[in-house]
């Protein structure tokens, strides 16, 4: 699509803002009346999570920009190394896991000469 003029802003407002805030408003209105254990909510949760997971997978397997040229094994290696540090990281597992994945990727890129 073209990124000129008003159209992209309308596109973002409708497909981005409205599509997202509708659910936030629905969440407010549902308030504490929603049944946390209903089977429907379970399915909705699962679909929402799988959707985000698919986005994550796409960014790892088919990245855009600089990483497009990097080998897949390096990106997968970074995620696996990060996951290992995450699961054995104890209290600081989030920062450790992220730092480990970044370190692995940066080292790999440096060795492969992405400079």
């Amino acid at each position: 699509m073209s990124f000129d003029g008003l159209w992209p802003y309308i596109y973002i407002a409708v497909a981005g803002w409205l599509a997202t805030d509708l659910w936030r408003w629905a969440g407010v209105l549902a308030g504490n009346r929603i049944d946390e254990r209903s089977e429907l909510l379970n399915w909705v949760r699962a679909v929402a999570t799988a959707l985000v997971a698919a986005v994550i997978a796409k960014m790892i397997f088919f990245p855009t920009g600089t990483l497009e040229a990097s080998p897949l094994w390096l990106r997968l290696g970074a995620v696996i190394f990060g996951a290992l540090c995450f699961f054995f990281g104890g209290r600081f597992r989030q920062i450790l896991g992220i730092a480990a994945a970044m370190g692995f990727l940066a080292a790999g890129l440096a060795i492969l000469g992405a400079s």
Partner: protein
Amino acid sequence: MTAEPEPHSQIHWFLLGMRGLFSLPAIILMLSFVGFAAFTAEARIPVGQVMFMTGIVWALPAKVILVGSMLSGAHIAAAFIAVTLSSVRMMPMVAALVPEIRDRRTPTWLLLVISHFVAITAWVFAMERVRDVPRHGRVAFFAGFGITLTSINIALVGLVYGAVSEFPPIVSGCLFFLTPVYFLTSIWISARHRVIYFALGIGLALGWLFAVIAPQYDILLAGVIGGTLAWWGERVLRLREARR
């Protein structure tokens, strides 16, 4: 901050919420937004549109899907469906947060307004810390955190967007990679149900599979099919456990 027995003012709690900007989740989120700026700069989306969507959409996964749709030239209705499916998760998140932060006098319009600032990071932060805040200050506390975090990130995206193309490839590569890695850890940590782990694993696998065999509809297909499989599998397991 006076010694009088009066409860702290709304401004006090708002400011205390703003201080959450210096917490680990907020800092990771800001780095992810630097990564998002790199992603959009490389995709050649104009900076004004990137700042606009940062403020108006706010949730990072929804924006990543939105940008993906813009780049592939998807019809606005198809983009709406893909984004809205990814944002369904907002509803249970907000519905869980609202009873925590409202008191009897909180007007619904105010909750509708501040619900806009709910996204994974703000939600995790609020659910963790809001219990230490007296009930009458919770809406102000959350508003202080959410509004500040959103505003700072709009400015941040605008500031670093131009610098991103100057970054050495290693830095821009790592920043791009920060978003998926941060999401993986965040989803794992904030998961309160087993079905989330199932959906995460199946969604990752099907996300790859459908990107190869059906790239136009990959995220939608992986979400609906993967999520249904995860829900069904977890349910079968749960029923079997209950029977034992």
